[in-house]
Subunit: 468 residues, 2 copies
């Protein structure tokens, strides 16, 4: 976070309205005020200069009632792209407020990838209704896209692709692009054209800058990159995102049966996937659904309840372990006072290891080649920090309860639990990943169970053995 | 995670070597074996067909010794782009192994943005040495870029931009591009050309597909987008990433003093920023440095120690609270057995709220307009789940210790702590954000302190009051 003046050294006056970040807190407040005063003309005036992405953001920030009012006011001018920019949970609400015909009109304006993105969220009956209202050509493309598995390249790609045959020249390609533009048959945005053989299999890609830097008589086959990445239509979107990132791609051809070109994926869709995957990672580690922020109270409560119930199981298990030592605690209540320290330090140290491992697996920085080395390092770090905190907490316990032996007990328990935390924090995600279970989901529950149970058990057992 | 056959329905044989994902576990193993057998020829043969991004990944996965061996073997063929693809911590090590002249040669091959990315990581003396070895023209551009603040648009942009005057036609623009290509003065990758006025201020942008779909005689001013986003050179990179994502940009002009065009930012750099910000978010919440995976054991131990020490403070504070009730626990040891349940449920529920809030602030989905509504919802969710878990844990406690009143005590404490968790989990990040402190860093410590202290205190105090 940088403060305003440093962020923008350019005099504000040199910027036009549209060049400034469209939506700020003050404008939002004014729009909300106008909505709540039912001042339609005022709302329309405030909203008119906004970019569709800003309108999408605005709709996300509004409460349900205000949102409905705003949609009613925008009415027929509702921009198709607003819908594709919206968060899924909010979009579902907005779609419910739109008439089927309006929705179909909006959807047919979009490229197939964005249209599919919206239609796949509808229930079956709504899907049929909307599809029926869409012109036949678009409908077939969308229906085909819907046959590909969810979260696959097939859902992500746009069907509109620019292809040229191998024997064309750059000049012919440019003439073709101009003619297609006249017929309005080009995709909205594209960054590469693909050279295909007679079977419509891609044999090379040419970036648009490559086309533009080359003179007309040069054959396309001479400037194409024959080593472009081909994306199989069923490839998982995570895999697609990895490829784009690793190779700094802006677009890539998607191939179906027999290696035939069926579409292209562009970077803007991949950025959305990257954000989505990240949201999943960070949310799942805390046991929250991705659309949590916009879900209704009951839906949120229900989904969080499940996670908390699992964690309650963990906590009860830890209590059972403590229950084994009721007699010990009765004789020396200092143990009850100190026992949460060991468990909590184990949990925190384990979470550090766990986060590094989960992130490393997600970004594929941890592979079979270095997994053992990563674990070894974690154990070493856990061991060293275990020793350091053994000394610190040992001294604290000694001074607090004037019992050097109590200090030794908590110190030994600390070393043991930090080693166990390092082991469990690194091994759990690796094993889950090997079992093809998302390590972000299960790891943290398993980790806290282990560090709680081991933390309480070792500390109390050592206490029972050495102190009584 | 999808299993192999589903991921790739296309017969493997139809893919060329380069089209397959270059680096897999088996190939890595073979390379490691060859490195450890000191079989230079074998290594060279295995590595030769790999893309530079794969070589960067490989270097990241290798242990220090193997990494040095591999670099020595690749030697002069070391590709400049390998260096810019490397993770920072690994890059620092690799740079130490390269001679200054080799490094300078490598850096001068790169576009300014990538060159700056590498040079900014060097210490001052190394910077001077490398800069001296770079040809004067490039050097000036790089030195200028280094004057912009870290993490600003100025560091991110490439200086190489294609501009055309307002009075040109599309045909003239294309001829200019072809002539520039002959002189090799075009940027490596670009997606827009910018129309500038005589003061070199951008007045419009044209996507390359826009150029290609238009006939030669059309004036550029007719097809340009005059409402393109201008990025001030000092804008924070987070802000830049937000703009690119929100507007689905692939490139944007950067302007300096007086609104003059000084460079352009492209999507590939922004994707790196997005990844970096993600990594920061997820790592900071767990108290880990971003380069943790590749740091040496001692550096990792030290950075994690600090976080654990802060958490130890929290845990000791919780113990002090428990210590207030030593007499109570001595009289009824069941309280010691059950007390971690209340604290742990509060911590977990609070973390759910916290994650949603931190993420919402990072993506700017939470704004002053909806912050209060988000908090209200969290309190409601916390209240409902508090009631549900009050009943569940109340029953567990009653049955376990045959004391209905103990059930009431744990139930009441549960409701209180889940409400407090919702309040603290949403309020803490909002307040930290308002104070311009990264909410990902401090929130979770504050949250656990609150839920532990309140959890233990309310439960033990109620126990002392109602049960003894």
């Amino acid at each position: 976070m940088v403060d305003e003046p440093a962020r923008d050294p350019m005099p504000e006056e040199t910027l036009t309205d549209a060049q400034r970040l469209g939506l700020d807190a003050e404008l939002e407040h004014r729009i909300v005020d106008a909505l709540e005063a039912d001042d339609s003309a005022g709302v329309r005036e405030l909203v008119a200069p906004l970019h569709y992405a800003d309108i999408a953001d605005l709709l996300e920030h509004l409460a349900g009632d205000d949102r409905r009012k705003l949609i009613a006011i925008i009415g027929e001018d509702f921009h198709a792209d607003v819908l594709s920019e919206l968060d899924e949970a909010v979009r579902d609400n907005v779609i419910d407020d739109l008439e089927v015909e309006d929705l179909a009109a909006v959807v047919s304006e979009l490229d197939t990838d964005d249209a599919v993105d919206i239609i796949e969220e509808l229930d079956e009956e709504e899907q049929l209704q909307v599809l029926e209202a869409i012109p036949a050509g678009d409908r077939t493309l969308i229906e085909e896209a819907l046959t590909y598995p969810e979260d696959s390249a097939g859902r992500l790609m746009q069907r509109e692709v620019v292809t040229v045959p191998t024997f064309w020249t750059v000049g012919e390609a440019i003439d073709f692009l101009r003619a297609s533009a006249d017929e309005d048959s080009l995709p909205e945005a594209f960054y590469d054209i693909f050279v295909v053989d007679p079977m419509h299999r891609p044999v090379g890609a040419i970036s648009l800058s490559g086309v533009l830097r080359t003179r007309r008589p040069v054959p396309v086959s001479e400037i194409m990159d024959p080593e472009m990445k081909l994306i199989p239509v069923a490839m998982d979107q995570e895999e697609v995102a990895f490829l784009f990132r690793q190779r700094d791609l802006v677009s890539a051809p998607v191939v179906g049966d027999g290696g035939r070109l069926v579409g292209a994926i562009t970077i803007d869709d991949v950025v959305d996937v990257i954000d989505e995957e990240h949201e999943e990672d960070i949310m799942r580690m805390a046991g929250v659904q991705e659309d949590d922020l916009y879900s209704a109270v009951l839906a949120t409560t229900r989904s969080r309840f499940t996670w908390l119930l699992v964690n309650l199981g963990t906590a009860v298990l830890a209590s059972v372990v403590i229950g084994l030592f009721q007699g010990t605690i009765e004789q020396m209540v200092a143990l009850a006072v100190l026992m949460p320290i060991v468990a909590s330090m184990g949990g925190n140290a384990g979470t550090q290891t766990l986060t590094v491992a989960v992130r490393g697996l997600a970004t594929r920085e941890i592979t079979p080649t270095n997994a053992l080395r990563v674990m070894g390092k974690e154990l070493l770090v856990g061991g060293i920090n275990g020793l350091l905190f053994a000394v610190i907490t040992g001294l604290v316990a000694w001074l607090w309860f004037s019992s050097p032996l109590l200090g030794v007990v908590i110190g030994l328990a600390m070393i043991a639990n930090l080693l166990v935390a390092a082991l469990s924090g690194s091994l759990t995600p690796l094993v889950l990943d090997r079992l093809r279970i998302d390590p972000a989901v299960g790891s943290s529950v398993i980790l806290t169970t282990v560090t709680d149970v081991v933390g309480f058990f070792v500390f109390l057992a050592l206490g029972a053995w050495l102190l009584l």
